[in-house]
Amino acid sequence: MKRLLGIIKKHNQEQLLVQSGSFVGILDESQKNDFKAYSILSDQKQSKSITGELFNFRLGPLSGASLECGTYNIYTYGERMVDVDIDISYKSRGIENLMCGKNTTHALTLSENVCANFAFSHSVAFSRAIEEAYKITISDYCRFTRLILIEVERIYNHIFVISRLAMAAAQKVYASHLIYLFDDLLSLNKKFFQSRFLKGINKIGSMNYIPISQIKIFVEQLDKIVNEFLKIYEFSLKSVNYLDRLHNTGVLTINDFDDINFDGPALKAIGYYTDIRQFESDFDFKPIVETDGDSLARMIVRAKEVQQSLNIIKSLLEKFKKDSLELDVNLYNDSKTRIGIGQCESPSGTITYYVELTGNIIDYVYISTSSMFLFNTIEKALKGQIFTDFAFTVDSFGAFFADAAK
């Protein structure tokens, strides 16, 4: 399945950042007609017209209903959402522009500040881009630790998204239990890695040293939390009232993928996948897919991925026998121009960094995040839904304004 990941605009020229299978690269602007998502990514969205009794019910940027400062322009006549337009610009911090002119170490810190709950995925995608530009081969220790922590990030993010769905459905006890587990996982991160959101651990070409014995103890405690999650998740599936609110809500089809090019659990919920972990050689990976394409299917994919991530971590630990002290990699600050592309599978989809450098100073960076696509998908999924389905639809995607607006 080929996807348009983004449009690189420089010197009044456009290039297309695309992915097809394991290939990720740049195509000429002339091929833009092959991608329907081009019009979405190039901000050529048509403005919505209000006719008849329709009015714009504006939610945000400051609203108790939304955790972040984004705006939902909901065109409605009272009950049904006829059309939706999401404005992410309030959250835009211009991180790509901030990175330009900075050295790679400073830019790595900025990449962690794009979206804290995907901080490690952003950090790994950025460092993979720089490592490709400099042709750095990382050690087994660094590779394995990164893979383990990417899965840890996936576990606590999925539990967070499911807790949001439980809260939307007023399943107070279940939601409180999930938030407790979410906070427990963050505390565990702090205890073992000195950062609740796994910031400051990854470096370019190396990692902070974490002894393997410490990782083993961490995984034992993680195992207990995941098992507790699975127990209460199984119990929640007995609540027909809860499931009924998620079933047939925010349904997507493969045609929506053709139009928008979204990925992650939202795509897996309609039976397809572009998960880049399938190309990893360090563990066996079989993507989890569902077929209904609704909020319930997206939740089931996430819950099953929690178990899958724990299994991946355990299988990596079996292979990963020796730890080693990592030395910092020195990047040449020459005047040579380099280009690199790096990717990482975040909990909500693939993150891609396209980086151009002169020496170790960033000239240009383009960040393609999963949430960029997911907000367009949410607009599509909300159309025709009634207001009570708003939270079930929006929260099931695990999209974040911070990730999309950058």
């Binding site: 940027p61 400051l62 609203s63 108790g64 209903a65 955790l67 972040e68 400062c69 610009s89 309030y90 959250k91 835009s92 911090r93 991180i95 901030l98 900025l110 500040n113 794009v114 979206c115 804290a116 709950n117 901080a119 967070f160 409180s176 239990h177 938030i179 407790y180 979410f182 906070d183 427990d184 963050l186 702090k190 950062s195 609740r196 959101f197 974040f400 911070a402």
Partner: protein, 152 residues
């Protein structure tokens, strides 16, 4: 009917007189919100770390209601406004309008975990009762709120 005058007299003698027009904001907050405080947290452009730390406070582990801390969905019902991170340019006006809507007396807690955004110092934000910087976790936010109430 007979009990109402007794209730009124007892209320008159036990009610603490609080002058809302003078004194430092911190002292005022201690006096007014010692027993309960309503908090509205607004994200004005953070990287979600602070948002999720606030979300973690809903965990039964912190049991915020036991300490009289309640989260509201609008600044109009809040005693304390928690501003999560330095604002983006587009969020400055909505932020100032949120402050404008706060009922008197009120306090503002500033939280910043990075140097991205417009510095708070340039915005002349009134009634600042706490300013947290750096690595801020749920526990730190919770203990700061208790100290704003004068309970820590």
């Amino acid at each position: 009917m007979f009990l109402w005058p007794i209730y009124g007299i007892s209320k008159y003698y036990t009610k603490k007189k609080v002058d809302l027009t003078s004194g430092k904001t911190n002292t005022l907050m201690h006096k007014c919100f010692k027993k309960s405080m309503h908090v509205f947290a607004i994200d004005v452009g953070c990287d979600n770390e602070l948002t999720l730390e606030f979300y973690s406070l809903l965990s039964p582990k912190y049991n915020t209601h036991r300490f009289g801390i309640f989260f509201t969905n609008t600044p109009k019902h809040a005693d304390l406004l928690a501003i999560l991170s330095r604002p983006t340019q587009m969020m400055v006006d909505p932020l100032l309008e949120a402050i404008n809507q706060m009922p008197q007396p009120f306090g503002i807690m500033l939280l910043e975990n990075s140097d991205i955004g417009i510095p708070f110092e340039t915005l002349n934000i009134p009634n600042v009762v706490a300013h947290l910087k750096g690595n801020i976790d749920a526990q730190t936010i919770f203990s700061t709120m208790l100290s704003v109430m004068g309970r820590w």
